[in-house]
């Protein structure tokens, strides 16, 4: 063995393989995604919350009514990811964006495949790109893409 003074380094992975219990409302939302259906929770005042919450954020009342919303919407805020990390939704530069779907009153966070930062703008219309393999997971939505006219 050499008497090298070189400092050693090694790759180290810390991983917890959690299973998260999603609860009854998100559970229905996720199941809907598998059928290419996006649903929101309708509150007593008529607001539609996407993704749905179990309770009305205004008054804490339980919500059980889910209503479908469109698979198109508008970007209200975004940030550009020029160097995607492993396991992110896209392996090329993309945007994380808040998207208000048509028929919804709140925003959903998801990825936008815009091909380049110069194409991104607040107010841009986008449409869902569904994953081919859907299991009832947020990744059943592969990402959003600019809506073609």
């Amino acid at each position: 063995m050499s008497q090298s003074n070189e400092v050693l380094s090694a790759r180290y992975v810390l991983e917890y393989t959690y299973q998260r219990s999603v609860g009854p409302v998100i559970g229905r939302f996720l199941a809907g995604l598998a059928d290419k259906r996006i649903e929101g929770a309708r509150t007593k005042s008529g607001r539609v919350i996407v993704p749905p919450t179990e309770y009305d954020p205004d008054n804490g009342e339980a919500i059980s009514e889910l209503v479908p919303v469109a698979e198109t919407g508008v970007i209200t805020a975004w940030c550009w990811i020029s160097e995607p990390r492993p396991n992110q939704p896209l392996d090329r530069p993309f945007a994380w964006a808040l998207i208000q779907l048509d028929g919804a009153d709140t925003k959903l966070l998801h990825a936008v495949d815009a091909e380049g930062i110069e194409r991104m703008q607040t107010g841009m219309r986008v449409r869902v790109r569904w994953s081919e393999k859907r299991t009832g997971h947020i990744r059943d939505i592969a990402c959003f893409e600019p809506e073609r006219a």
Binding site: A10, P24, L30, G136
Partner: protein, 162 residues
Amino acid sequence: MKEPIKVMPGPVRLEYTVIAGRHLSRYLRALAEGRLLGGRCPACRKVYVPSRGACPTCALPTDEEVEVSDRGTVTTFCVINIAFDNAALPPPYAAASVLLDGADIPIFHLIGGTSVDQVRMGLRVRAVWVEKSKLGPTLESIRWFEPSGEPDADYSSFREHV
């Protein structure tokens, strides 16, 4: 229509590059040679295995390198009864703090070569090294510690380390 989803995978995964530093690198290289290295504090004379470069009590560099024995005493232990991903051994098995002869701080390792009901505080153990061609700069160069057959150590000899 699909049944509501009950659980979803939510793994937490952190990928690091760990840089061992000079002292830990020497300790790891020594393991690849089948030796256990510590560092002695010039003031309190305690030997830390592995040495991280400084005495945590005296705040002085532990530059004096000391080879310690690959035999030691179980100061405390636990029995693992539940199987989990990447478990070192099929349960039940024991993991123990082993105070190596010549060291003033225990290292943590597996206990093998015996049944878990034989593992106890004060048990004398010796390192079982992997075969020479498999030695590397890792504590996995020691497969586990097994009973050495010596009489149990007296509690007073390791009381300070429990």
